[in-house]
């Protein structure tokens, strides 16, 4: 019971501190104005919002990383049980690697192995 009371006290203090900080910020009349929310463009102004679809150019590297990293993540525990499970484990790992290799083949087709 006493532990719960202690936790509740900590929670109340944390919430009170948070609210107090918010209240202090309210008391400061220098709130963020609308021009401050606009990105800095050296005095220029944007025509559209920056919230938009952006080209993640490292996506191909991410794909490759996930393909190989997931492979290794499952291979370590698989190596432990392989001796006990035998041929069944081998077949399951073969299926798993086949599925993953499709991702690697896709990446290959997209040219992620070409060094630029």
């Amino acid at each position: 019971m006493i532990e719960l009371l202690g936790l509740a006290a900590i929670g109340v203090i944390a919430v009170a501190a948070g609210l107090a900080l918010q209240w202090l910020a309210r008391a400061d009349d220098h709130r963020v104005s609308e021009p401050q929310k606009v990105p800095f463009l050296g005095g220029g102004s944007p025509q559209v919002h920056a919230w938009q679809r952006y080209h993640v150019r490292y996506y191909s590297m991410t794909l490759l990383f996930i393909a190989f990293e997931m492979e290794m993540m499952f291979m370590y525990p698989w190596a432990v049980v392989y001796v006990a499970e035998g041929i069944k484990a081998l077949v399951e790992m073969g299926m798993f690697l086949t599925i993953l290799s499709i991702g690697i083949l896709y990446g290959w087709r997209e040219g992620i192995f070409r060094w630029q």
């Binding site: 104005s33 021009p35 463009l41 050296g42 005095g43 220029g44 944007p46 559209v48 080209h55």
Partner: protein, 422 residues
């Protein structure tokens, strides 16, 4: 009590200043930025004081107000060699000939200890594009894509991506005139996909470098001027150009060193540039400029003249035939690439050569009104070759490097008011 003590401690730190550079405000700012008591920052978000240096065009007033409003509180403005805005009340001004260092120090101290109240906003405190309550659900726009102003214009952008064909949303914005990475005054409307420039157009041209009757290259029009003074001014000009390019490469200490060296040269110091060059090589400045970036062809180089032309292997220099240089064993230096790296190297080579000539010149002088090889090439009407034609397809950083690889006069000629992109 505790706050004022903290404020006094904070006020001892270097003053974070964001410079808004107007007409003829750049060189004196270069000199001021060397003061150890100041920290010239690249964004108003990091600054407490807006330093307006040089005259502000009427068209740039709103931009200045926008930059001012983007400074975090507490903030203040100091007008250096320019008329303050009419509506700012008791504005703080410093004459162009004076250094504002003490005024900035004092202003910063008062700002942090409560002696100077933070300035209010100059622009109306409303979003640039009102959106609240618009649309069926007050989402800020109309239609499925969100629409104007803050949604997507259309399902797919009108232009394909220039790099790998994967078309995503385009971002169009006006950059400048107070963007530290661009020449002062230049406003470009740039359309980006990611960080690749799709198109660029000049909205407002950069400031033409002003004429200063006491500067050697203008003095020679009125009186005989020593070759040494001319060559020192050339070396200082080139080093300041190098410093601007180094700033874009994020090599701020090396840029400051170039500016310091330029100042020493102007004040008559005898400087060996070899150690500076070695520092730049070790810092990776040459390697950081992509090979073959921003090339200009022979016709383009001939049109620009000056170091940009010599960097494109055009050995044209008035000093070859000038009588004052006859005994100085002058030979024209050239680079072969015609790209950004070649222009960067050319500036350094010519600065080194100019200092050697200044040492050897003794009291040789150039006659009044004699033709002189200026450090900035031809000053002529706008060129048919346009900066905005170079930028599409370049990444943002490459584009900034390309622009910075031309001196102010060349940029002025290549970036007249946007008539090329209707």
């Amino acid at each position: 009590m505790a706050m004022s003590l903290l404020g006094r401690f904070a006020a001892r730190a270097p003053v974070p200043v964001f410079p808004a550079v107007g007409r003829d405000g750049e060189v004196r700012l270069d000199v001021l930025s060397l003061a150890p008591a100041l920290r010239v920052v690249d964004s108003p978000r990091h600054a407490s004081i807006l330093l307006v240096s040089g005259d502000i065009r009427t068209a740039d007033r709103d931009s200045l107000a926008r930059v001012h409003d983007q400074l975090a509180h507490p903030r203040a403005t100091l007008w250096w060699g320019t008329q303050p805005r009419a509506d700012t009340g008791a504005a703080l001004t410093v004459a162009a000939a004076e250094s504002p260092e003490t005024a900035l120090r004092d202003l910063y101290r008062r700002l942090l200890t409560g002696g100077h109240t933070s300035e209010t906003h100059w622009l109306a405190d409303e979003p640039p594009n009102p959106w609240r309550g618009r649309g069926d659900h007050g989402q800020g726009g109309e239609g499925m894509m969100g629409g104007v102003p803050y949604g997507r214009m259309m399902p797919m952008p009108p232009t394909p991506d220039l790099r790998d064909g994967l078309a995503l949303d385009v971002y169009t914005a006006q950059f400048g005139p107070f963007l530290p990475q661009l020449p002062p005054g230049l406003v470009l409307e740039i359309t980006l996909q990611g960080d690749v420039i799709q198109s660029a157009a000049v909205v407002r041209p950069p400031f033409l470098p002003g004429r200063d009757a006491s500067a050697p290259f203008d003095r020679v029009l009125h009186e005989a001027t020593p070759v040494a003074a001319i060559e020192r001014a050339r070396a200082a000009h080139h080093l300041r150009c190098v410093a601007r390019l180094l700033g874009i490469l994020q090599l701020a200490p090396q840029a400051a060193r170039c500016r310091r060296t330029a100042l020493k040269i102007e004040r008559g110091g005898s400087i060996d540039l070899a150690p500076l060059r070695k520092t730049l090589r070790r810092a990776g400045a040459f390697a950081a400029i992509p090979a073959g970036l921003g090339p200009i062809d022979a016709a383009w180089a001939a049109e620009l003249g000056g170091p940009a032309a010599r960097a494109a292997d055009q050995a044209r220099d008035r000093r070859e035939t000038a009588p004052a240089y006859r005994n100085l064993d002058f030979r024209t230096l050239c680079q072969s690439g015609g790209d950004v790296r070649a222009r960067f190297t050319q500036w350094l080579d010519e600065a080194e050569q100019a200092l050697a000539l200044a040492r050897a010149a003794g009291d040789a002088a150039i006659e009044k009104g004699a033709p002189v090889e200026t450090p900035w090439g031809h000053r002529a009407p706008p060129s048919v070759y346009r900066l905005t034609d170079m930028l599409p397809g370049l990444e943002w950083g490459e584009a900034l490097l390309t622009i910075a690889s031309f001196d102010a006069a060349a940029v002025c000629r290549m970036a007249p008011l946007g008539i090329e992109n209707p």
